[in-house]
């Protein structure tokens, strides 16, 4: 039951993100953005979906038929399944609507943080297979770039995760969130972002790169690679990549909230309403993503790789060492 709810929520969040992205982009560029379809353009995503559904499904003649079909499925599946282990609220009855309190998490795994990481590493395959099976040079280059980029930033991503789990002494996301309950000095929330600012920054940067978002959106750098690995895709298979991208963003933001921003813990609201805090925090991070995309220029590809290996990874490694030392010697 909850699985279905989460599935629908994720689908609709992608739709919302499409709208938000367009609107925010327009705001940042002093434009109006979509306004014709529905009130203030609110039904624009629906129109997009309908358009995509009715477009013709194209497949290049020389493409590997099976893998060409498989790639978007892998992408979308990976995106959805990663969210399965992410908790997004404490036990709640939703204002008494339910008889028994319900845990807002599809499944609680005691190595959840690693599962997220494992599934993130699997999403490489969707991209790289899409690039290869299209049998097009733009796709192939986009796919190779994407996978190289994702593999590179996965290391920093993992190290940032590790520094948090060292502090929380738990691999379970719920455990990590609960470790952040309460306050320091009565008013500062015990969020890891305050003692792991470096880890947070590394995580956010690597997260952007993992989801192939601007300013790290090389796999689909339109000036160079047309549309990257999904150049040859159209209609619903294209929509699946699109969907995967937004769901990945949501997942990264939700995990960031759980790891660094105290999850559903926050002042003023009771525990059972924590999911409101959670939504607020995720929305803030998502807004930040969109804001970054429309503000920053794209890196050059070699700079991106150099940044990942020579700057981000050392910072993450030193941060992990420092965290471990802090835990060991000062009992943080």
């Amino acid at each position: 039951m909850l699985t279905l709810v989460v599935f629908v929520m994720l689908l609709s969040s992608a739709a919302v993100m499409v709208y938000v992205e367009r609107k925010v982009a327009a705001m940042l560029q002093q434009r109006v953005g979509p306004y014709l379809v529905g009130p203030r353009g609110l039904l624009q995503p629906l129109a997009d979906v309908i358009k995509l559904m009715f477009k013709e499904e194209l497949r290049p003649l020389a493409a590997d038929r099976f893998l060409f079909a498989l790639a978007p499925i892998i992408s979308a599946t990976a995106a959805f399944s990663a969210f399965a282990v992410v908790p997004f609220g404490a036990e709640t009855t939703f204002f008494g609507l339910l008889d028994t309190p319900m845990r807002l998490q599809v499944s609680d795994v005691n190595v959840a943080i690693l599962v997220v990481f494992a599934i993130a590493s699997m999403s490489v395959y969707g991209v790289v297979l899409a690039g290869w099976s299209s049998n097009s040079k733009y796709s192939l280059l986009g796919g190779l770039r994407a996978s190289a980029q994702m593999i590179s930033y996965e290391l920093s991503y993992g190290l940032a995760l590790a520094s948090v789990l060292v502090m929380a002494n738990s691999l379970s996301l719920t455990g990590i969130v609960n470790h952040q309950a309460g306050t320091w000095l009565g008013f500062i929330p015990r969020w890891f972002v305050f003692i792991q600012p470096v880890g947070f920054l590394v995580y956010m940067t690597a997260g952007i790169a993992e989801t192939n978002r601007a300013p790290f959106d090389f796999p689909e750098a339109e000036q160079e690679l047309v549309a990257g690995y999904h150049t040859e895709y159209s209609s619903m298979s294209f929509a699946m990549f699109f969907l995967a991208e937004y769901i990945n963003m949501v997942t990264v933001s939700a995990v960031a909230t759980d790891l660094f921003l105290g999850g559903w813990h926050g002042p003023f609201l009771p525990e059972s309403l924590g999911w409101i805090w959670f939504l607020a925090k995720v929305s803030a991070i998502l807004f930040f993503y969109v804001w970054m995309r429309w503000t920053l220029p794209r890196y050059r590809y070699d700079q991106l790789m150099a940044f990942g290996w020579k700057v981000l990874l050392p910072i993450a490694a030193v941060n992990l060492l420092a965290t471990a030392a802090g835990v060991l010697y000062f009992g943080l």
Binding site: L67, V111, L114, F117, S121, L140
Partner: protein, 176 residues
């Protein structure tokens, strides 16, 4: 118990996928099938109360090593196996020995089967939990710390070796 059946499902997937790996002529499919096989093994690890190994199996094998294979396959872009034979090769290398290898494999599996059935019944698994990540970590960094450090050196050596081996050689006009 559902998990009993799961063992057979995962085992069948692992064996089937592995057979398909070596039955494939297209290395891309070989790689993907191997990933499937690893996924099934990962499921078996969960059944064996080792979720940490299961996740690491996915992260390391499927997420890193197999991507490397996929890269190389794509990079070399020589997907299909050559079927033509060089007749000048050593007599030991003609088709006969290859079949001999298969015979050997069958012999080996017969031997292993025999060995396993000959031995006494092992009985069911114990009830003790071995899934604690903390226990694994403690053991890894105390009892096995030397081996751990040695593997880090191994990784470093492999990294340097891979970089040196795969480095593009200097252009030929630069040479005398």
């Amino acid at each position: 118990m559902g998990s009993d059946l799961l063992f057979y499902i995962f085992g069948a997937v692992a064996v089937g996928a592995s057979l398909a790996v070596i039955g494939q002529r297209n290395p891309i499919y070989s790689v993907l099938l191997l990933i499937l096989s690893f996924g099934a093994l990962s499921g078996l690890y969960i059944l064996l109360d080792a979720p940490f190994v299961a996740v690491i199996q996915i992260i390391v094998y499927a997420g890193a090593i197999m991507v490397l294979f996929l890269f190389v396959v794509m990079l070399l872009n020589a997907p299909h196996e050559e079927t033509d034979y060089d007749e000048r090769v050593h007599p030991l290398l003609r088709a006969g020995p290859t079949r001999f290898g298969v015979v050997l494999a069958i012999g080996l599996i017969a031997e292993l089967w025999w060995a396993l059935t000959k031995g006494r019944e092992t009985g069911p698994f114990g009830d003790g939990s071995v899934s604690s990540v903390a226990a694994i970590g403690r053991s890894l960094f105390t009892e096995y710390s030397f081996q751990f450090e040695v593997t880090s050196v191994l990784i470093l050596v492999a990294m340097v070796g891979a970089v040196v081996l795969a480095r593009r050689e200097p252009k030929s006009e630069g040479r005398p």
